[in-house]
Every structure is written in structure tokens, then in C-alpha cells.
């Protein structure tokens, strides 16, 4: 809680479904309530997946306190039981209706489905602040690959759940990889120069070089991706015969990196560095040793292993939610 309270806008992401995001969210809401700090909450829509009412019904309920702000699709208000005052309609439409900003007029449950695009999230966060919220919590999408981008949130809590794999070493390795991506340094490049192309090349000073293929990376210091980074995009670089030491692959932020761990390691092994436009501030890792598939881990062992593997605070939220 002390760590969380250093930041204005905090997003919560997870390594898989049932990673424990809602538990963490409810834990943080309770924490802010105890501190007497008004909080505003919304959820990131299901980025990149087919959004349907059925999926939304599976969204867990959040327990809010009177005075909290929240943003959700209007029709979901009836699925919760909190009394709510409508403050703003945002013009952001979802299959479940327009996203509205509400103030809770009682304690109670709410079902959240907020905007999925970052522009919509930024708008909602702005409306939250207009209404006096200083603490904003964003319930992230299902996995780390579509987390609330650092463009919007100041920091992230990453939930690592046992539902990821029955094999704890797999879960640990994936979590280390994710934390490594979160921890990538800032590139210092001006991305506006490279906006128009999917991939382009820059020299040490960030000057754009004439477009060349990834195989012949030559004397480029930076390979800049303005969109998402995938294995397929980077394969030509991985199989190139050139010396890749000193080459840095740069992209917007960790949410754009869809690389497999093996491709990432392979490129690193050849001397390739990675950097981002906006680094993600990882506040903490929340460990959830319980698996939805009944293949959980020993709690103490899991937390201990995560602490050994990761350089960020690791905590276990036990039964924080109602």
C-alpha cells in the first residue's frame, strides 16, 4: 500500500486469466479507503480480443465505497448494486452502451467495463481528475501483453498467478521475462521522426537512415518499431549473418512487445539491446499461488522464488477481496 500511494494512476496487469487482478484491485481500494483517500476506478476493455457480452459477464465484480468514482458502460450499472450518480457521459461507445463516469452514493458492487483504447482511457482519467480524484486505479486487460500503456498510468502492479502453468519454473521464467520487458531503459529517441513506418533505422544520433532490410542492418545503431514487435518481424534480424552487437531494437513501450521469450533471448545472445520510448514503472509484483485449474503452488515457496528472481517488491494478497 505504501508503494502504491506514491503514484497517481496505477494500472493492474496479470500474466494470465485468474492472475488475481481483482483481488489486488479490491485490496488497493480497501487500502485507500483506510487512508481516507478518494479513489477512481475503471477497467481496460478487452484489447484485441473479440469483445462480447458473454466475455463481459465473466468480469469479476469490484467492491466500491461511497464517494468513489468509477467508469463503466451504462448498462452494467444494473449488474452491480451500488447506488450511483451519473457525472459524465463520455461519448465512448462499447457493445454494452456508452461509458459513463459515476460517483458511488453507497457502498456496493460494480461491474466495470471501461474504454479499451488509450485515448478513451486518457479521457476518462481526465474526467476522474476533474471530479477531484487523485488516485486512479486501472484494472488492466487479461494479460501483460495488453496492459494499460505507460502513456496513461504512472505505474503498474503485475499479478503473477499460478493459473499460468502447473509448472512453477515456467511461471517464474515467464514472470522474469515480463519484468525484464517492464524494466527496459528509455531509448531517448524522438518517435515522431519514425511514426509513418512500421520499422525504420536510425544512427547513433537518432537520425533516420534510408530504409534497408533487417538482414543488412549494417551500421544502424537503432532499429525502431512504431507498432507492435512480433517474432515474425524480428526473424530476419535473428537469422542475419551480420554482427549485431551494438544494435538496439527500440519500441514504444512494454505493451507493444509481443516477442516470445525464446526470440528475445536469442537476439540478446547475439548482442542486440532493447529500449523503449516510455519505460514502465513496475511498482510491485503480486503473487497468487492459487490456480483456477486446481494446480496451485505452495504459497511461501512461490513468493520466495519470485523474490529471488525479481528485483521488485513481491507481495501476496491473501483474501483481500470480499
Amino acid at each position: 500500500m505504501e508503494i502504491a500511494s506514491r503514484y497517481g494512476t496505477l494500472s493492474i496487469t496479470g500474466n494470465c486469466k485468474n492472475a488475481g487482478k481483482t483481488t489486488v484491485l479490491n485490496y488497493l481500494i480497501d487500502g485507500y479507503k483506510r487512508r481516507g483517500e478518494p479513489v477512481a476506478v475503471t477497467s481496460v476493455g478487452l484489447d484485441g480480443e473479440s469483445v462480447d457480452a458473454v466475455t463481459y459477464t465473466k468480469k469479476p465484480r469490484i467492491y466500491l465505497y461511497e464517494g468513489s468514482l468509477f467508469a463503466t458502460a451504462y448498462s452494467l450499472l444494473a449488474r452491480g448494486d451500488v447506488s450511483a450518480e451519473i457525472l459524465y457521459s463520455t461519448g465512448i461507445s462499447t457493445p454494452l452502451g456508452e461509458v459513463c463516469v459515476f460517483r458511488a452514493k453507497s457502498d456496493g458492487y460494480a461491474v466495470l467495463a471501461g474504454p479499451s483504447a488509450s485515448a478513451g482511457l486518457a479521457l476518462v482519467c481526465g474526467l476522474f481528475r476533474n471530479s477531484g480524484a487523485e488516485r486512479i486505479l486501472l484494472d488492466g486487460a487479461i494479460n501483460r501483453k495488453s496492459l494499460a500503456a505507460p502513456a496513461i498510468s504512472d505505474t503498474t502492479v503485475f499479478c503473477v498467478g499460478a493459473s499460468f502453468s502447473a509448472d512453477m519454473s515456467e511461471t517464474l521464467a515467464d514472470a522474469s521475462f515480463a519484468c525484464e520487458l517492464f524494466g527496459l531503459p528509455a531509448s531517448g529517441l524522438n518517435f515522431e521522426l519514425y511514426e509513418d513506418d512500421g520499422v525504420c533505422f536510425a544512427d547513433n544520433g537518432g537520425n533516420r537512415l534510408k530504409q534497408r532490410s533487417l538482414e543488412a542492418v549494417g551500421d544502424a545503431a537503432f532499429v525502431v518499431f512504431s507498432g507492435a514487435l512480433t517474432d515474425r518481424e524480428l526473424r530476419p534480424l535473428a537469422v542475419s549473418a551480420n554482427d549485431l552487437s551494438g544494435v538496439t531494437v527500440s519500441f514504444r513501450d512494454a505493451s507493444r512487445c509481443l516477442l516470445s521469450r525464446s526470440m528475445f533471448e536469442r537476439l540478446k545472445g547475439r548482442g542486440v539491446g532493447f529500449s523503449v520510448l516510455r519505460p514502465t514503472v513496475l511498482a510491485a509484483v503480486a503473487a497468487n499461488p492459487f490456480s483456477a485449474y486446481g494446480t496451485g503452488y505452495d504459497s511461501a515457496e512461490f513468493v520466495g522464488e519470485l523474490r529471488k528472481a525479481l528485483a521488485v517488491p513481491v507481495f501476496n494478497v491473501k483474501g483481500g477481496a470480499r
Binding site: Y74, I86, L87, E98
Partner: protein, 465 residues
Amino acid sequence: MKNGSLNADFKYVCSLVEPASVFGRELLKRAPVFRDRDELTGELDNIQKVRDGFDANRRLVQRVRDGISPLKDVRRSLAELDSRSFSGLEMFELKCFLLSWESARRDCEKLIKALNLVGFELFDPQRALEIIDPTKQRISSFFIGDELCAGIDGLRAEKRRLEKKLKNADDDELTKQRAALVLSEQKLERETLRRMSRELAPFAEGLVELVSVVARLDLLLEKGRLARERGCGRPAVCECGMRLKDAVNPRLADRIEAFTPISVSLSRGATVVTGANMGGKSVALGVAALSAELLRRGFFPFAAECELELFDEVTVMFGDMSDDERGLSSFGGEIAALKKLTEDIKDKNCFVAIDELARGTNAREGEAVAAAVTGYLNAQSCVALIATHYDNVSPRASAHYQVAGLESGDGLPDEQRGLAERMRYGIFPVAPGARCPHDAVAICRAFGLDGGIIDDIEKILERGD
């Protein structure tokens, strides 16, 4: 393409006006045609008042714009208000609309009075607001409390009491009690929304009308501003023809520094424009057509002075008329359009502008077609303006204009004087049958076409073959 250039010209004019409200922007997009002369005159009177009073009321105009710009479109919900009740979100939207309008209305009223505008009845939101906000809190959020639904606050207080108890201990009985309270609360909210919707239904029509009043006022202010900025004279709506003094096409005039304004007087029947290539025949046709179109859509034409009739239709036939889809060549497309035009002018009062009629076929037959069509249009009740290079067309028209064309390059090699410098734009009346200026060779020379070709052209012309 038929009417393509006219549409582009009109769109450009639309791009010069920026209504502040979503309703004004929507009205501009439709730009409905005025069919009734009195209605049009009323609109022109109002535009004139805005134009003349704009500077003195600049700040008030801005306040009106600021006031109406946040109004959201609630018409879709209003249209269904008599058949179903509003959701909380719709009630919230309507409340925001009424509150915004309540504060915008005062400035609108002031401005209408200051400018003496006619035809603007402003809906008074008070009685509708009394239903949504009976305690006059005037806060732009929506929540059903005791002031809207007696007893609901007590129910919520009980819910809160149970929540406090539940926080300390999970208790099935308390949870059940709380769930029952939540159901009662939701039921009361639904009933309240139904009651409010019923009470608001009689205001729906007035609110929809208000939207159209706001749209008209919003667009009117912009039309007046534009007329003021561009020095447009108030058009007189006359019975017959068109008289323009110093008229321009803003789409061209904003790009070309020294655009020569056009002055022309057209009566019923056909008027022919002849003259040098690049001398401004097409521009003159475009200005006349745009002026007629602007008046039809309730704008001031871009002219220092003008007098126009309200046409039912404005038709232009410019440039390449070919139609690949219908398998028509340029000449074929032109004739197909002419056929339609001859049908249209039978029962409609049309303005017609045709550029270089029948130029897409051989010169001999082309000239015959152009002369015959001109003669036909001259005998109809339409107003037609026809540009041509053919000599034997103007005798069939009732009036003839000529572009001034190239000045002679006396004493100077042609290449040393820019074409534009030597071209005298603008059109002047001449007698029907006056010979067309023949400047094609001079223009070839001014563009620096190969000297051998020019020599050959001149030899051919001398021989007369």
C-alpha cells in the same frame, strides 16, 4: 463531370463557415434549398442584420457560440419519449441539455434582440427543468434522490446500515436483506424514471423544434460573419435573370492573388461568352453558377452587388463529360446531359452554364450543334450562359459577352512578357455576332511551343485549308 465543379465551389464556401453547435454543423452539411421566396428573403434580411451588427456585438456572438457548442444531440431519445421511458443516462443527457440551454438562452435572446432578428422562438426550459431538477440545484449530474422519489433516501440509509454491519461479519440473513433493499431501490428508480418521462413527453416537440432554431441561428451567425469578412452585398431577389457586380469565386480568388471580379447581366434565354483560351470564360461561368447556387441555399453570393432570381435548379456542364460506367465518350456524355436538361427546363426554372458546348466532336458539326442548342435554350424560359470558341453561335443568343483576351505584344518579344501579365481577364458585353478573338497561336507562342510547329500553324491558316 456534371455539377462536379459547382459542388466543389459550394463545398469550399461551406468550409469557410464554422458553426459552433453540432446542430449548426448538421444543417450546414444538408444546406437545404430555399423554395419559398419569402422565406429566402427573411433569411437574407437576417444575414444582413448579422453582417451589419457583427462588429458591435462581437463578444455577445462569441458568448452565444460558447453557450450552444456544448449542447448534445438528444433528438433520438426525444423522438421515442412518447412510447417508452428514459433510462437514467438519457435523463442525465436531457438534464445536461436543458441546463446548458438555460444558460445559453439568455445570450441568444439578447443577441436576437440586439440584431433585431426575425423568426427565432426560443424554448423556455424552466418547466421541463422543474421535472428533472425540482429543487433547483442546477448541478450537471443525475441521481434519483428524495426530491425526485420520496422515500428512496430512507431506503438507502437502511442499505448503508446493513453494509456497515456486513463489513464486520458475513451474515447470510443480512446479505439477503440487503439484496432485497437493492431490488426495491432499483424498482423505485425505474418507477421514477417512468413518471418523469411521462411528465416530460409534452415538451418533446418543443425541444426538437428548439434544436432546429439553434441550428438556424448558429449557421446564420456564420453566414453573416462571412458576408462581412468578404464584403458581400445583400442580394436582391428579382423576378428574372441575374445581375452581378464584381463577383468572385472564393475557391479560386483565395488561391490566385489577382483574381479579376466578374460583372455580368443575364436575362432569360441564352447568353454566349466567347474569347481567348485561358481568358476566364470558364471562370465567369463558374462564378455565375455559384452565385445562383449560393442564393438558393440562403447564402450571400460573393459579389459587391447582385440581383438574382431564385432558381429551382442550377445545372453546369463543365469539362470532360465522359462516363465510363455508361460507356459514354465526352461528346456522348454531353449530349445525354443535354437531353436531360431539355426535359428539366420544361417544368423547372433553371440556371444553366455550359462550357465549350460540343467541343468533343469535329469542328463543323460541333459548331452546328452549339448554335442549334443555343437557339433552343434562347427560346426557353431558363437563364443559360454558354461559353464557346465557335463563331456562329452568338447570333443565336440574346446577349454576347467577350473576354478581353491578350493585349498585343507590340515592340516586345512574346517570351519576355508573361501570359498572365498580358491577359486581360474579365468579360465585356459585345453585340451578338461579334467575331471571336483568335488568340490560340499567340498562346502557343507564349508557352514556348516549338517554333517549327508555330510556323506550320500559321502557314496552314494562311492557306485556309
